[in-house]
């Protein structure tokens, strides 16, 4: 009789042996494993929630792959892409440019788990994680490659991370740090738990639901298929958290509080505008705030609490930022549209504005007057007055514009001095992230720091656009050519 997996599983993953001619600390240096002060035998309690065997993995992944391919083939024959709303396309451009190479970086992170994780059970799972992330990067590239012939912006799936575009640099600043530069334990807390168990659901499940409603079945299917891998390999984080809660809970709490805020800021930039402005009004499922409450507050945070973690100390400010921050980011991104590699929708036609007011009671007070001024200028035929003439100022932690984390009336200066230099932040929370670990951020100049250092020549906006790699064929502009502004009568 065939053994069932439960009978042989524990033996199959027990791949450790006793080192006889080399010091274990040399095989698993703490700088890579991140084991820190956790005693070596504590890792024996590490027990994966989601079991995986190689035989099942291959069979299941093959089936997933067949499903994605079948949907893709059927839809490219049906010419579905050509029928999509152009505003929705910005979500796909932004997603692929902003995350394809993060998937590629995740391969390196998972392979670090394979080699250096402090228990053989985790090293074993890292193998599957590594194969998963290889799949994600390749799926994105294949998807984008097929669309290149109809839309050159899909080239940025591969290209974006090889440019200095400011938003991409913000994404890179975070993932360089937590994926490429982090030891296994820190990566588990910041990536497996915070990003993969928490925030990627916003993009890969919730936004995928919007994309499905918008008729982008192929992309939506790709996203949720990728997330079926994420949901599984994110589970590597929980047994690691359990060990840390036993032996070094302060470290777990701080690492997660930092990663949670940095993720919040990035997804307010990536998912917020995509849900509340780029998704056509009729197809919006819920608002970004409502999805955040579902996926981050009720879903993600509840599980962390079950392990004994406290909510981040800035929880009330986090909730408050859900009302404002992504609206400010969206307004800034639209204003700086020549610095984008996609065409953003302003998303403030009279009907869309009605929806925003209903979903966000303070939207009109916080941002309405700014859009009114923009609308008046468009109606007066003065589009140049709706375009930037200088750079914003960027946060030294998130690399995102200062002002993008709150409403205008909440905007205040946040700064720290470190080794004789002044660093500026988009919020008191980003300032706290810096203050608890300044070395992590101090040597990473923002685009504005580079500009001031004279790295960007000529020192003007065209010079900055050239430095960022923005070319005329992809440069952003209002996707509907301001038709939404002309819908206002006597504005």
């Amino acid at each position: 009789m065939l053994l069932n997996r439960d009978d042989w599983y524990e033996t199959s993953r027990d791949l450790d042996w006793t080192f006889s001619y080399v010091d274990p600390n040399e095989v698993f240096p703490a700088s890579w494993s991140g084991a820190g002060d956790v005693p070596a035998d504590a890792w024996q309690d590490w027990e994966e929630p989601f079991r995986v065997s190689y035989r099942d993995y291959v069979r299941i992944q093959r089936e997933k792959e067949g499903g994605v391919k079948a949907v893709g083939n059927a839809l490219s024959r049906a010419g579905v892409f050509e029928k999509l709303d152009p505003a929705h396309l910005a979500s796909a451009h932004l997603h692929l440019g902003g995350t394809c190479m993060v998937e590629q970086m995740a391969i390196t992170m998972q392979s670090r788990f394979c080699r250096f994780a402090p228990t053989p059970k985790w090293r074993n799972l890292g193998v599957f994680g590594m194969l998963d992330e290889t799949r994600h990067a390749q799926l994105d590239l294949r998807f984008a490659h097929e669309l290149l012939k109809v839309d050159p912006r899909f080239d940025w799936t591969l290209k974006a991370f090889h440019t200095n575009e400011w938003g991409i640099r913000a994404v890179k600043a975070f993932f360089d740090d937590i994926m490429l530069n982090a030891d296994c334990v820190e990566a588990a807390l910041a990536v497996s738990l915070t990003v993969e168990h928490g925030f990627t659901n916003m993009q890969f499940v919730a936004l995928a639901a919007d994309a499905m409603a918008a008729g982008d079945i192929n992309w939506s299917n790709l996203l949720s298929s990728i997330q079926t891998d994420e949901a599984r390999h994110a589970q590597q984080g929980f047994p690691t958290l359990a060990v840390l809660m036993e032996h070094d809970p302060e470290r777990a709490q701080q690492a997660i509080d930092v990663a949670f805020w940095r993720s919040t800021r990035l997804f307010q930039t990536l998912t917020g505008p995509a849900m509340d402005y780029y998704t056509p009004l009729e197809q919006r499922k819920m608002s970004f705030k409502e999805f955040m409450l579902e996926w981050i507050v009720n879903h993600h945070e509840r599980i962390l609490e079950d392990y004994g973690l406290k909510k981040p100390w800035y929880w009330d400010d986090f909730l408050r930022s859900l009302e404002t921050a992504h609206h400010s980011m969206h307004l800034g991104m639209w204003w700086y549209r020549p610095t984008l590699f996609f065409k953003p929708n302003a998303g403030v036609s009279p009907a869309e504005r009605e929806w925003l007011r209903e979903k966000y009671p303070t939207w009109e007070r916080d941002f309405g007057y700014i859009w009114d001024q923009i609308i008046a200028n468009v109606q007066a035929g003065d589009v140049p007055a709706t375009l930037p003439e200088t750079l914003p100022v960027l946060c030294n932690v998130t690399h995102l514009p200062i002002g993008g984390a709150c409403a205008p009336h909440e905007l205040a200066e946040h700064k720290s001095e470190y080794k004789g230099k002044v660093y500026r932040f988009d919020s008191h929370i980003s300032k706290w992230c810096f203050d608890v670990d300044p070395e992590r951020y101090a040597d990473h100049p923002t685009v504005v720091d580079r500009f001031l250092a004279g790295d960007i020549q000529p020192m003007d906006l065209p010079g900055a656009l050239a430095w960022m790699g923005i070319t005329p064929d992809v440069m952003g502009d209002d996707v509907y050519d301001y038709a939404w502004a002309r819908e206002y009568v006597n504005a």
Partner: protein, 109 residues
């Protein structure tokens, strides 16, 4: 035990746990199987068109036996992953049973 279909925008109880399945036949069968496997609990279903939350409070069992009965064919629980982009709760997977749970819920007992 009842199956309660929540309005799409209804607030979820934070202590509800269980799988999130892509809309389709498998999701329907998982609802029936979860109902059979958790006779002492209400099954809360939140249908968001593209994905479906199938949750019970504090603790949610899904057995191969119930799912196979609902599907009317053999099914390995590992393959649930193909249609499961997310799930809520701590998880324990065995050949014949997946279990989602919280250790700090009053609905856990």
């Amino acid at each position: 035990m009842t199956i309660i279909e929540l309005e799409s925008d209804a607030a979820l109880d934070v202590d509800h746990v269980g799988p999130v399945i892509r809309a389709g036949r498998l999701a329907e069968c998982v609802i029936d199987a979860v109902a059979a496997d958790n006779p002492d609990r209400d099954v809360v279903v939140v249908d968001r068109d593209d994905y479906v939350r199938i949750h019970t409070r504090g603790r949610c069992r899904l057995t191969r036996e119930s799912l196979e009965r609902a599907l009317g064919e053999a099914f390995q629980l590992e393959a649930l992953e193909i249609e499961m982009p997310s799930f809520k709760g701590r998880l324990r997977t065995r050949t014949d049973e997946f279990l989602w749970y919280l250790t700090t819920s009053d609905g856990e007992a």
